[in-house]
């Protein structure tokens, strides 16, 4: 039954309609009655439609669809003529000998109109595909722009994240009364963090040094807040500090590391921030010795944001990776290769895209 897929009422209606029109036109240069012509036209139309449908479903990798469709029109016309003869109760032999010219004439009309209709259908299909592809490309560009804008806005909010700010100030307030030097250090770190964070808002890129300083201030603040439960080390060679690096990504990774690592069950969490360069690839990694990532726990909004921004800025030459550490913990790394940016892949030819439905027009 699958060979008949596509033989919809719609298609049959089209065939009927065209047949009626062709029959009407034929009135102009034959003597047959309209009814007679309609019968002939319908037989021809249905045979061609049937064969067209069946052949279409038979297409494989080796035989082109267009070839099969053309063949269907020709064969359909030939069979159509035979069908006309049968329906009208003619003597087939007589038809193909005495009245051969009439037969050929009818067949030609069948082929002619059939070809026109099929060609029109194919053309419309191709146009629809093109416009769908265009729409998809536009939509993709818009999505990307929207993502970048959204990310920027989120960044601006995340910069002076209220929880972090008020918790830190609460700590400072306490320390001011009990341990003034510690309060002073914490305030210094907070000021440095805010200074580093503020200008970042407007730029698309900053340098790694700045991001690392911000991360250091952040870690220092948390180290005081968490006491002996947090330890950290930063290893970023001087030359790498001057490299371009997207803002507000490193701090996100550090924040996650503290969250994963700060599970109270763990006695002490050590966070390592390392930057290396190998073979043109800049790699900035944040490792923790915490409980690790559970397969069912969310990846968090921050990580999706980082991935999308990396893709928008660098295409396929940058990535965010995660690895399990031995014996415990996770290493999250941002890697940026030297290579040129590449844009998103275009949709290959012949595919209907999700944004627009491209059905068969017949």
């Amino acid at each position: 039954m699958r060979y008949f897929a596509g033989l919809t009422p719609r298609r049959i209606a089209w065939a009927t309609g065209i047949a009626l029109v062709v029959a009407a036109l034929s009135l102009l240069f034959t003597d047959n009655t309209y009814l007679d012509l309609v019968v002939s036209a319908l037989c021809m139309a249905y045979t061609i439609t049937l064969l067209y449908t069946v052949f279409e479903n038979m297409h494989t990798v080796h035989v082109r669809r267009e070839f099969l469709q053309g063949l269907a029109v020709v064969l359909g016309s030939m069979l159509g003529v035979v069908l006309i003869g049968i329906v009208k109760g003619r003597d087939l032999v007589h038809m193909f000998t005495e009245r051969l010219s009439g037969v050929i004439f009818t067949m030609s009309i069948g082929i002619g109109f059939g070809a026109i209709v099929v060609a029109t259908a194919l053309l419309r299909e191709r146009q629809a595909r093109e416009s769908a592809r265009l729409h998809e490309a536009e939509a993709a560009t818009q999505r990307l722009e929207k993502n970048v804008l959204h990310a920027r806005l989120q960044l601006m909010q995340a910069q002076v994240e209220p929880h972090f700010l008020f918790n830190t100030l609460a700590n400072v307030q306490h320390l001011v009364e009990t341990d003034a030097p510690a309060a002073s250090r914490m305030l210094e770190s907070l000021i440095q963090y805010l200074r580093a964070a503020m200008p970042q808002m407007r730029k698309d890129s900053t340098d790694l040094g700045r991001e690392v300083d911000m991360a250091r201030a952040f870690l220092e603040i948390h180290a005081i807040r968490m006491g002996s439960r947090l330890d950290f080390a930063i290893d970023v060679p001087e030359p790498l500090r001057r490299r371009d690096f997207p803002p507000m990504m490193l701090i996100s990774l550090v924040e996650n590391a503290i969250k994963h690592g700060a599970d109270p069950g763990c006695e002490c969490c050590t966070i390592n921030l390392r930057a290396t360069e190998e073979g043109g690839r800049l790699r900035v990694a944040v490792s923790d010795t915490g409980a690790g990532i559970q397969p069912k726990s969310g990846s968090g909004v921050g990580l999706t944001n980082i991935r999308e921004r990396l893709k928008a800025l660098y295409g396929s030459t940058a990535r965010l990776t995660f690895q399990e550490n031995q014996p415990c913990g996770v290493t999250a790394a941002i890697e940026i290769d030297e290579a040129k940016e590449s844009g998103p892949e275009p949709v290959p030819a012949g595919f209907a895209t999700r944004s627009g439905a491209v059905g068969n027009v017949l």
């Binding site: 306490h174 109270p264 559970q294 990846s299 399990e324 998103p344």
Partner: protein, 251 residues
């Protein structure tokens, strides 16, 4: 007068100490009998000390303030402590529950202490509804689906977020995990993955293939009533077997 007993919960030791100090000044009759860094020891402490009152930081790692409030379930009064959360504050203003903001403001704390003194004369109010509504708003629910795949790549174990996976395909005894950057092998078979992945985001399109819906760029009819999927970040196409073409039928 019976001594009033309180327990303070906050993951930051400095802040616990600070609240303790301020309460000692403002409410000398209150005795802070214990502190906890998270809600894990709630039952134990309830049994050991029978406190009248808990001060709960909402955002604690492990068992947070809201979950702790659920555990307490009316056996003691509860005061939430929060650094900043507009939703929480709004809910608190409406509900019959007290809250304290960090950094601690002495005047505000004094007002809360007065109110608590009154409240403690009665039994603890039922705050279940309020807690549930806060839980919904403050904690994004993990819905039990797989979010990460752990795959061995060389000597390392890589953690791959599922949203970056284009498709899974079974390959002999293993399953290939294919992302835009490359692929990895895991042992988990397609059948098990189907049970654990979010069915709205991951569709089985073939006996041997599960595809990430977001990774699909387009679909077309293939040979013999099957379908072919084009993917956004991968050059290859995937076969949709007849049993699954219904997923892509146009309406």
């Amino acid at each position: 007068m019976k001594a009033l007993r309180a327990i303070i919960a906050d993951d930051e030791p400095l802040l616990r100490a600070q609240l303790r100090a301020k309460l000692a000044r403002l409410w000398p009759e209150l005795s802070v009998v214990a502190e906890m860094p998270d809600g894990r020891a709630t039952e134990e402490l309830l049994a050991a000390h029978q406190p009248d009152l808990f001060f709960l930081d909402i955002h604690m790692p492990g068992v947070n303030g809201l979950e702790t409030a659920r555990t307490i379930a009316g056996r003691a009064h509860v005061v939430f402590v929060t650094a900043f959360d507009e939703y929480a504050v709004e809910a608190f203003e409406r509900g019959a529950i007290d809250y304290v903001l960090k950094p601690f403001n002495e005047q505000r704390l004094a007002v809360t202490v007065e109110r608590l003194k009154e409240r403690l004369k009665e039994a603890p109010a039922g705050i279940d509804a309020l807690v549930e509504s806060l839980v919904g708003r403050l904690a994004p629910a993990g819905n039990g689906h797989l979010k990460w795949i752990k795959a061995a790549v060389g000597n390392n174990v890589r953690l791959i977020p599922v949203e970056t996976i284009a498709y899974f395909q079974s390959d002999d005894k293993y399953t290939r995990v294919v992302t835009c950057e490359g692929e990895a092998l895991i042992r988990k078979p397609i059948k098990e993955l189907l049970e654990e992945l979010d069915p709205e985001r991951f569709w089985q399109v073939h006996r041997a293939t599960i595809v990430n819906v977001d990774a699909i760029a387009g679909v077309r009819r293939g040979a013999r009533d099957q379908g072919e999927l084009a993917l956004k970040d991968r050059p290859e196409t995937l076969v949709v077997s007849r049993a699954f073409t219904h997923l892509f039928k146009q309406m």
